[in-house]
Symmetry: C2
DNA sequence: ACTAGTGTTATAGTTGAATAGTACACTATG
DNA sequence: CATAGTGTACTATTCAACTATAACACTAGT
């Protein structure tokens, strides 16, 4: 019952979208399993210090994406269709990589540059992150 | 004089930030050279069909980042400090890759997965983009 | 029935992005 | 000095996200 969750909110993106992504990641990584009950509107509102209406909107969107199901009076549950979850995972990963590659290309980087940078990111990540020529 | 520019605006991000990124990319890729005059507030407002106040805010932010300079009564100009431009380029690229890698890891992908996916993205990009097991 | 815990809906108010319109200040040019 | 093209500043308005609060509907358990 005591999750102690806290999301760092980015002011430049609506909160309901950020919570959506948070929940979806929980489901995709298996922290929320198919069929699991997800927190109630009021519960999550208290936990995240967010207005219940905003949580409600979040959940409605998640339901629209068919990744959670509502049983009125009972609560909301993660969909049991694992294929739907895999589908959402691929969609989110696809969006990430599309955004990344397009952004890098718009900055003037070419394929080999990008591949190198990604590899380096992991190496540099293991030590530190500073500027290099 | 006739650029015929048009930006596809994303509703989930403030317009002034999107225009900022657009201008910064123009500078980083050399389409706007150091010392070049950038469009005036009113000119760009007409070109992008955006309110002058929004453009004004965009330019103020660009000036705060020291990537453009203002000469009152004359117009705004791309900074002549190329090191500043390189710095901004590295910052934007760093943000992109950080956002990408963190996002992928939050979806459960590991280093080797990510490297594979990036490579595949270029290959798949050359033919088409569909779903694969 | 009653109660508690769900989802659902509705109204009103706050905040910030963006728009609309106007006016003022500075600079170059004639 | 007059004009045109700059940046700058201000007020008012619209719109969506978010908040605050309340009420209603459904389900399970007692």
């Amino acid at each position: 019952m005591c999750h102690e969750v806290s999301i760092e909110f980015d002011n430049n993106l609506p909160i309901y979208l950020q919570i959506m992504n948070y929940i979806k990641k929980q489901i995709i990584t298996g922290k929320l399993q198919p069929g699991d009950k997800i927190p109630s509107v009021r519960e999550l509102a208290v936990e995240l210090q967010i207005n219940p209406n905003t949580i409600q909107r979040t959940f409605q969107e998640l339901e629209r994406e068919e990744i959670v199901e509502t049983r009125r009076g009972l609560g909301r549950y993660v969909t049991s269709e694992e294929s739907k979850i895999m589908s959402i995972k691929k969609e989110m990963a696809g969006d990430l990589i599309q955004h990344f590659i397009q952004g890098m290309q718009e900055l003037g980087f070419k394929e080999k540059d990008i591949l190198t940078i990604v590899s380096d990111a992991f190496e540099t990540d293991k030590s530190n992150l500073k500027e290099e020529g």
